[in-house]
């Protein structure tokens, strides 16, 4: 008897594995569908009782609430715009957080590997302290510490020679700022970019075709060329920026303006001139002030009635140092207490995890690599930067991606400190409209697309760094 007739058509369907697997899947799918249908129908029923139809039409209606941070937003703008502002706020917090946490994390991770006992102990203390306590605790208490324990605006401490001001109104940092002469610098920057790019391409082309060792220095050359062009552009624009001949100073309200009709007084249609540096020379000394957007400038206290002015143009980019004016900070980069607390908490907490990842990555490089590099005569620093760290990166990158995603998701805890990120704005929208399903869909879509984007970008980096094997 041929074996085929033994098996064929004898297996009853209830013992046939193929039939059974399909049956199981069918039952599972049916069960799932019934479950989801039950939930949805109950929800629709409940929503109908409350009189809220599900639709996304509300997104175009006026939001009716203000947003304290991020892009300028008016309550009459739509819910969708509000959500967009929220997304940008989240990206801002997450983006800055990722950069700072990476820098701090690498520093702490390397410090944990240091041969200096004190440094190593301190880094360990840092990691163990910050990793073992919930992030929300850090956030809540950083915020409380800023709001409750820091003094009021005028009594706040000023650190690092006045470049950092602290108070319960937030943190103000000295920061490079664009002045009114910046547009003149723009072509120079474009030129720098173009020249840098062409240098890079040219060096790569030359390296591939004629002179292989030159390739390694392509990026360095490109950066050097760009930097040189931008710097000369900066100096050129600064020195040659013209002041209109009719520029006058209005001494009554401290304004620099363009006297179009040359009558010496300021009219309604004569605009203030921003970006002018006003130097006052008096027998008592020299004072420097600069004009704001509307052309006004503030004289420091104690300046006697000024006899002479010198007007010079501002550099296109200048170092703006914060100062207190009225009830707020003026100039510099001002971080609100909410943003400062969120950023501080996220960075400190995530850095402790990144430090451990970096340490594990460096320890994963075989000792032989270090010994071989030292035997070749590389210095301790060269060994680390040229041999150990590039290899450690391969181990570090995948878990690092995970930490970046965690940080992005953790930024939703902003709601605890009142920073208007995408989650808290979506929640406000949900509270106002009662549109629960669109709320869930919007949250899911926003976070999922951010996660996917981040992991896609970093996976590309990972693929470039991965070991090239056959």
């Amino acid at each position: 008897m041929p074996p085929s007739s033994l098996t064929s058509a004898r297996i009853p369907f209830y013992r046939n594995v193929r039939v059974l697997t399909w049956l199981v899947q069918l039952l599972f799918a049916l069960g799932l569908a019934v479950f989801v249908w039950l939930l949805l129908s109950t929800m629709l029923e409940n929503l109908r009782k409350q009189g809220i139809p599900i639709s996304f039409a509300f997104l175009t209606q006026a939001a009716g609430f203000g947003i304290a941070e991020g892009l300028a937003f008016h309550p009459s703008q739509s819910y969708l715009t509000a959500f967009g502002v929220g997304i940008l706020n989240t990206l801002r917090a997450a983006g800055i957080g990722i950069v700072l946490a990476t820098l701090l994390g690498i520093a702490i991770g390397v410090a944990r590997l240091s041969r200096n006992w004190l440094l190593e102990r301190l880094a360990t203390l840092y990691v163990e302290t910050f990793r073992n306590v919930p992030l929300l605790l850090w956030l809540v208490f950083t915020y409380a510490a800023i709001r409750e324990t820091l003094p009021r605006l005028r009594e706040g401490p000023s650190l690092l020679w006045g470049t950092v001001l602290l108070s319960n109104r937030g943190v103000a940092l000295a920061w490079p700022e664009l002045s009114a002469t910046f547009p003149a610098l723009r072509p120079w920057l474009l030129l720098a970019l173009g020249l840098g790019l062409s240098t890079w391409l040219w060096r790569r082309y030359r390296a591939q075709h004629y002179h292989p060792p030159a390739r390694a220095r392509a990026l360095g050359w490109a950066c050097a060329v760009s930097l040189l062009v931008s710097c000369s552009g900066f100096l050129w624009t600064w020195w040659t920026a013209p002041l209109p001949l009719e520029t006058r100073v209005d001494l009554e309200d401290n304004t620099v303006f363009v006297d179009r009709n040359r009558n010496g007084t300021r009219e309604e249609d004569e605009p203030g001139l921003p970006g002018v540096q006003v130097t006052l020379t008096t027998p008592q000394g020299r004072w420097v002030a600069q004009t704001a957007e509307d052309g006004t400038f503030t004289l420091p206290e104690g300046v006697p009635s000024p006899p002479t002015f010198t007007l010079t143009p501002m550099p296109p980019v200048f170092w703006s140092v914060p100062r207190i004016q009225g009830f707020n900070y003026r100039g510099g980069l001002v971080l609100s207490p909410e943003f400062a607390a969120l950023l501080c908490g996220l960075v400190i907490y995530t850095a402790s995890f990144i430090a451990e990842i970096v340490r594990a990555g460096v320890l994963a490089v075989p000792t032989g690599q270090r010994e071989a590099a030292r035997a070749l005569g590389l210095s301790e620093r060269q060994t680390f930067t040229l041999v150990i760290f590039p290899q450690a990166l391969r181990v570090i990158i995948p878990p690092l991606i995970n930490q970046y995603l965690n940080l992005t998701k953790n930024s939703s805890l902003a709601i605890a400190v009142g920073y208007p990120d995408l989650f808290s704005i979506a929640l406000t929208i949900n509270n106002q409209t009662g549109q629960a399903i669109p709320f869930v869909v919007m949250i899911m879509l926003a976070y999922l697309s951010m996660s996917l984007l981040t992991s896609w970008l970093l996976n590309m980096v990972n693929r470039r760094l991965a070991l090239q094997t056959r």
Partner: protein, 403 residues
């Protein structure tokens, strides 16, 4: 031809380096000029921080804010005349721990020892009613140990005890109508009690679900596999607070109106469990993938069914391989219970926030932000640190990496 053979050189012992403070300082702090500068700078900076910090800790800080509110921190708003109930439940759990220590040995023994020392320490530190409870817990632990050692060395008895403990704790805290136990609404539970309860229920409930999801993701049946993948990836893509908030807002919508509104604790627990399950599933999947194919094939060749091979061959190895990751997940679940504060529940962090806002302490210069912060962080730190110690011990006991 004669060969001249030299006798091999004698093997010398490693050079004896005399241990001295100077040598230690030289190798650890002053090995190069750069290290010396660094050490000195760090030491100076440390001295500049430690001295004022110590001064603040000892003389300025208002630790009364903690001692006065100790009851809030431990049990929240639980009615004071019912406080014997959490106390009795603690004693009961201590008893179970002691008994398991006698029956299971090593790991449970270590847990019980730590618990015993903690109870005795707290009993010495605290005052009247709490002191009695802690002392009682220590005694109950010893009694349980004696019982397990000499009278009841059966595992099943203690296992049954543990299985019943969670419902007993929940019923004991919540009370049963018609008996002597007055009902206490779950909105009154709080502090460390609620934090521990959330973490315990979360871990216990999410583990089986995570296991099922991991098996589903490894399944050869496409419908089941894709459902599991969709669930895991969707949940892992969104932050926990959004899941919690969705359940807080949406769970009443999804349930029939006749069931009434589910209480907030339940919504938080459901959200936390469903969220953690997705992460546990990924950890377990890592373990499942680490098992060589031969193990699956050998199990099939022995004629074991799928369930049997999972139960006896695959899962014991897979779970053992991912203990650190699983305990890490438990630690992060423990830390994540603090998110319940945002939903408005008064667990440890929620209580800490209310203490800061108390009128008595708000009027003190600078408030009591730092005192409360240090105390709360210390409690979280003690628990997470002991969990990670436990994980290391568990690996050792199960022989990870040695067999």
């Amino acid at each position: 031809m004669s060969m001249v053979t030299k006798p091999p050189a004698p093997i010398l012992p490693p050079p004896q380096v005399p241990r001295s403070l100077i040598r230690w300082l030289h190798t650890h702090l002053f090995s190069s000029w750069w290290n010396a500068v660094l050490s000195l700078a760090l030491a100076l900076g440390l001295a500049g921080i430690v001295q004022p910090a110590w001064h603040w800790l000892v003389t300025v800080a208002h630790w009364q804010a903690i001692t006065v509110n100790l009851r809030l921190f431990t049990v929240g708003l639980y009615p004071s005349e019912q406080l014997w109930r959490p106390g009795a439940l603690l004693i009961l759990l201590a008893f179970l721990c002691g008994g398991s220590a006698a029956v299971y040995g090593d790991l449970m023994w270590r847990v019980s020892r730590t618990l015993l020392l903690g109870c005795i320490f707290l009993a010495c530190l605290l005052t009247a009613p709490a002191q009695l409870i802690m002392g009682g817990a220590a005694l109950a632990l010893l009694a349980g140990y004696a019982l397990g050692r000499y009278r009841c060395p059966h595992r099943w008895g203690w296992q049954l005890g543990w299985c019943l403990s969670l419902p007993v704790v929940l019923l004991g805290l919540g009370g049963v109508e018609g008996t002597g136990l007055v009902s206490v609404s779950s909105t009154q539970w709080g502090g460390l009690l609620l934090t521990l309860l959330l973490a315990a229920v979360g871990i216990v409930a999410s583990f089986p679900l995570g296991l099922l999801l991991a098996l589903g993701r490894q399944s050869t049946l496409p419908v089941i596999r894709w459902s599991a993948i969709a669930y895991i990836e969707l949940v892992r893509g969104v932050p926990l607070i959004s899941v919690l908030m969705m359940f807080a807002v949406l769970l009443p919508l999804f349930l029939p109106a006749s069931w009434g509104r589910p209480n907030m604790l339940l919504r938080i627990l459901v959200g936390m469990t469903l969220f953690t399950a997705a992460y546990i599933a990924e950890n377990v999947r890592g373990g499942l993938q680490a098992i060589p194919r031969g193990q699956y094939e050998a199990a099939t060749a022995l004629g074991l069914t799928w369930l049997q091979s999972m139960r006896h061959i695959i899962l014991p190895q897979a779970l053992r391989a991912v203990i650190p990751a699983l305990v890490g997940q438990c630690i992060s679940l423990f830390k994540d219970t603090s998110l319940a504060t945002i939903i408005g529940s008064l667990e440890l962090l929620g209580i800490a926030k209310t203490v800061i806002e108390q009128a008595d302490w708000k009027s003190v210069t600078g408030g009591v932000v730092f005192e409360v912060f240090i105390f709360t962080a210390l409690i979280y730190g003690v628990f997470t640190y002991s969990m990670s110690r436990l994980s290391r011990r568990l690996e050792h006991v199960l022989g990870v990496g040695t067999r």
